[in-house]
């Protein structure tokens, strides 16, 4: 579903991504782990075609992101690190606007907007301006816009950042409940979150992938002993 080959990205003289290659199958839930500034957001932006890679290729469902970015963007739902919201708009207007831009057929827009408002538990705030909502609600509005066109691939950049434990639990449930057959990429530096959601983990350090394995394999050390994800993460980041 997603395949990258020797992806590099330079910002001036700093190299944010160093020859990143991986492949993600359809239906997988993959966690990108890394410290702040490791390159998670840059990698996600390259995958969504928001930033062009300096070299290397990204293929989404067999389509080259650089050459056919519009076709790729139709398949991807993306929640950036800070939910991209228009504070003056009401929740419903904003989701409707997102649906229009994401090629949801005019006849289905109303039904689709209602559906995601329900899925994200936003029904009761649908008429409120986004600026009056709490951070948890705003984050859910961000997720709602990402899934409004039923994308095959969902890319969520730190979806639970800055939320309280109850809200985190709700967002986790939400992500788990999203229809199957959907490929999900989540970036975070909250380790317990990855343990609960992801099946596979990519650990990124200074723009390089230092570990790429299923969660179960990653948590077993060389002698077959069980270790915590925290231990693995700290060891790899030393």
């Amino acid at each position: 579903m997603i395949r990258t080959e020797r992806l590099t990205k330079y910002f001036g003289s700093t190299q944010a991504l160093k020859s990143v290659s991986f492949e993600i199958q359809k239906g997988e839930i993959v966690g990108f782990l890394g410290r702040n500034g490791a390159g998670k957001t840059t990698l996600m932006r390259v995958l969504t075609s928001y930033l062009p890679a300096s070299s290397g290729t990204v293929m989404i469902d067999g389509i080259d992101v650089l050459k056919h970015s519009l076709a790729v963007r139709q398949k991807i739902g993306y929640l950036p690190e800070n939910p991209p919201l228009y504070p003056n708009m009401t929740v419903r207007d904003y989701i409707r606007f997102a649906a229009q831009l994401k090629d949801v057929p005019a006849k289905r827009i109303c039904a689709q907007v209602d559906k995601v408002l329900n899925e994200c538990y936003l029904r009761n705030v649908a008429r409120k301006p986004i600026s009056t909502l709490s951070k948890g609600y705003q984050q859910r509005v961000g997720i709602a816009q990402a899934i409004v066109n039923d994308p095959q691939i969902l890319i969520l950049d730190e979806p639970t950042n800055g939320l309280d434990p109850v809200q985190i639990q709700r967002i986790r449930e939400l992500i788990k409940n999203l229809e199957e057959e959907r490929t999900v990429i989540i970036s975070t530096h909250i380790l317990s979150e990855i343990e609960q959601i992801a099946q596979r983990v990519l650990i990124i350090k200074d723009g390089e992938i230092v570990a790429d394995d299923t969660l179960n394999n990653l948590l077993c050390d060389d002698q077959g002993w069980r270790q915590s994800l925290e231990e693995v993460f700290l060891r790899l980041n030393q």
């Binding site: 963007r73 993306y78 950036p80 939910p83 991209p84 997102a98």
Partner: protein
């Protein structure tokens, strides 16, 4: 086309959901009314020629207020990332935003159409001349908006966008003042670049191909540059 209209509607809604739109509308119309009264009172003529000149001058101040936020705000708040990761063409984004500002600007012009009806009530103005005058004012505003849009797409700060737009529009508007220091080819360039030399013809009811080309080509040029600017993320 649907997407362009969706963005246009969003832009218009964002104007009217903040007090800025109402402040701009009220102050602009109040100032225009004042000048309209002063000009008609001192000229005692049933013509809007001088009113158009004042309007053109005042648009140098007003248009940057309309356009400064178009792209700069989206970039500062991160919504640009949302727009650019939806399957929307950059051309559609630029046109949607341009139309949003243009429609708001057209509303201001529409509100000043009462001046024509007032002078028609008291005198016999030339209808065609007045219409051409309005076309000239509208074209000039449309060009100013395209310039403002381009400048807003180059920065993530609304203040920087406003200050740079003011600088460019002032230079365009007052470039005729520098004509005495230029000669030959430079003089021709300054004369052609000046908005004043083109707007004057419209104000007296004259439509020339050169003036139309000047406005339409600069609008197109600025919109194309805006598209290139957001495509290459020149603000980074």
């Amino acid at each position: 086309m649907n997407k362009i209209w969706a963005i246009t509607k969003k832009e218009l809604a964002s104007y009217f959901k903040s007090p800025v739109a109402y402040i701009i509308l009220i102050i602009t119309i109040a100032v225009f009314n004042m000048f309209f009264f002063i000009i008609i009172d001192s000229n005692q003529e049933a013509t809007l020629r001088d009113v158009f000149k004042v309007m053109e001058f005042l648009f140098v101040f007003i248009v940057p207020l309309l356009t400064m936020k178009t792209f700069a705000e989206e970039k500062a708040s991160g919504t640009m990332e949302f727009l650019m990761t939806t399957p929307t063409k950059n051309t559609e984004i630029v046109l949607g935003k341009y139309l949003g500002s243009l429609i708001f600007f057209t509303l201001i012009i529409a509100l000043t159409s009462m001046y024509y009806f007032i002078i028609e009530f008291f005198g016999t103005p030339d209808r065609a001349t007045a219409l051409v005058g309005y076309l000239g004012v509208w074209l000039e505003g449309a060009m100013f908006i395209a310039i403002g849009l381009l400048i807003s797409s180059l920065t993530r700060s609304q203040i920087v966008a406003a200050i740079c737009s003011y600088t460019v529009l002032f230079l365009l508007y007052f470039s005729m003042s520098f004509i005495q220091y230029t000669q030959g080819a430079a003089e021709a360039v300054v004369r052609y670049v000046s908005t004043l030399s083109h707007a004057e013809n419209f104000a007296v009811g004259l439509i020339t191909t050169a003036d139309l080309t000047y406005y339409l080509s600069s609008i197109l040029f600025c919109l194309i540059l805006t598209r290139i600017s957001i495509e290459n993320r020149l603000w980074r």
